[in-house]
């Protein structure tokens, strides 16, 4: 596989748009870890016209919630959850300045359109490798929605966090979506 491109946060529109589906990336900087209910809470704040509890401009959102940290550790195991459950919320967040989302599994049509419109990228991370990914986290802080327990919003600082551009802002898509017509051996 080709050498990963270094991706640092905050991410500019220009940089996000330079990334093509299939390109491996290595992330340095901050990720917002948000999942289902944190999304509902955040959208409610945005729709009320209030200021979000963390900066969204140029931000990358990771769909994840870790296991609790053992004593003396920065974080427990952490990895991506299924992105499609966040699809209903994503266009509004991209409109609010979020530059990229990170999870597992493909994104639906409305997200693809919003990515093209706002110049954002979708990165896939391997699921079920949470002990390995935890080693890439150098700090972890709860930044909002503490009442959600395991679903609270976290700010993670990561170094060399491995991902791959799965869907880019030109509609490029690494997921092979049309399996019904290709239910036969594939060229690799």
């Amino acid at each position: 596989m080709m050498e990963p491109i270094k991706l640092t946060t905050p991410v500019s529109r220009e940089f996000a748009c330079s990334l093509e589906a299939g390109t491996p990336v290595s992330i340095d900087g901050e990720l917002l870890a948000l999942r289902d209910r944190a999304h509902s809470c955040l959208i409610e704040i945005l729709r009320a016209g209030e200021r979000p509890p963390f900066e969204l401009d140029g931000a990358l959102i990771l769909y994840a919630s870790p296991t609790p940290a053992k004593p003396g550790k920065i974080i427990g195991s952490i990895g991506p959850t299924t992105s499609l459950r966040m699809d209903p919320f994503t266009p509004e967040l991209l409109a609010a300045g979020v530059r990229g989302t990170i999870g597992k599994g493909p994104r639906g049509g409305s997200v693809v359109e919003a990515m093209i419109e706002h110049g954002a990228v979708y990165l896939a991370v391997t699921g079920g490798i949470a002990a390995l990914l935890a080693k890439k986290v150098i700090s972890c802080k709860t930044v909002a929605f503490e009442q959600l327990g395991p679903e609270a919003a976290l700010r993670l600082e990561v170094r060399d966090f491995p991902a791959i551009v799965a869907q880019d802002c030109r509609g490029g898509n690494l997921y092979k979506m049309d399996h019904k017509s290709i239910n036969k051996p594939q060229e690799d």
Binding site: G76, K104, A124, G127, G128, I129, A130, G149, H179, D188
Partner: protein
């Protein structure tokens, strides 16, 4: 009668929860290893390599393999000559789950009410317990924590009794295709065919416990398992849905006699992180 103290069950379940979260069964690891050798795509090989690295790291450090330490599902065989003393069996298992998740720093992923989702039970209880009575004086407890991502991709169809075996196979393959990259492929596909609605779903879940490489005892169903595995891997969905030869590590079918009017078929997906463990008391 042979008596077993409920406290022994609590201790055994606590330990089982912690071990299963960080140590993947050998057969699953071997299956992923074998898949890596057969992959030709760089992306797919990279993903399988990460999975194997994670397995090593998690076991060495005793850390959870996946942040989703799952719904706590148990398959229990209670010998007829066993008497659990000092508490009841279900409560002892639940207590073990609570202790395992609190003391083992596992994620608490269960909300009290499925529609009012504001309250987490705080200790990953209640577990789902499937109790079976068996001959003998042993108590066997199998623990199979089940992640939400793969569980969400599971399906059941009440097919027509006149539907062909081919139609059943198509439903199973379509379920895997529709799931795509979401259930963390390479998946293990558990299939139940026959019985009632709930029995069929139970069989699909139970099928996931089989050892990688094992085949259904019936030659007929064994052939279907192998045919389905080949078809699923020919879809090219690949590890994490990003393309490749390995979409499933196994297809396991379990069957049950059926009503003349019915043909239920259930597909329960497990992610590559197919954790389970067993203790016999």
């Amino acid at each position: 009668m042979r008596s077993i103290q409920a406290s022994k069950v609590v201790d055994a379940v606590e330990k089982l929860c912690c071990t299963a979260a960080s140590v993947l069964p050998c057969d699953v690891r071997t299956g992923i290893d074998k898949a890596l050798k057969e992959e030709t795509s760089a992306v797919a090989s990279g993903i399988l390599g990460q999975i194997l690295e994670n397995i090593e790291l998690a076991e060495r450090n005793g850390d959870p393999l996946c942040q989703d330490t799952g719904f706590s599902v148990f398959f229990v065989k209670l010998g007829r000559e066993v008497l659990v003393e000092g508490g009841d069996l279900n409560s002892a298992i639940a207590e073990g789950v609570a202790r395992g998740h609190i003391n083992g720093y596992l994620r608490k992923s269960i909300v009290r009410d499925p529609l009012d989702r504001t309250t987490n039970t705080g200790d990953n209880t209640p577990p789902v317990i499937w109790l079976e009575l068996a001959p003998g004086d042993r108590l066997e407890i199998i623990y199979a924590p089940k992640g939400g991502g793969s569980e969400n991709m599971s399906r059941i169809a009440m097919m027509k009794p006149t539907d062909s075996a081919e139609a059943v196979e198509d439903f199973i393959v379509d379920s895997v295709i529709e799931a795509g990259g979401n259930p963390c492929p390479p998946v293990i596909v558990g299939v139940g065919i026959g019985g009632t609605f709930e029995k069929c779903a139970f069989l699909a879940k139970k099928a996931l416990l089989r050892e990688i490489g094992s085949r259904n005892e019936s030659g007929f169903y064994s052939a279907i398992e192998q045919r389905l595995l080949a078809r699923i891997n020919e879809t090219g969905i690949g590890p994490m849905g990003l393309g490749g030869r390995t979409t499933a590590l196994e297809v396991f079918i379990e069957v049950h006699p059926c009503h003349i009017a019915s043909l239920p078929v259930a597909v329960n997906m497990n992610c590559h992180c197919a954790r389970h463990g067993k203790v016999v008391l």
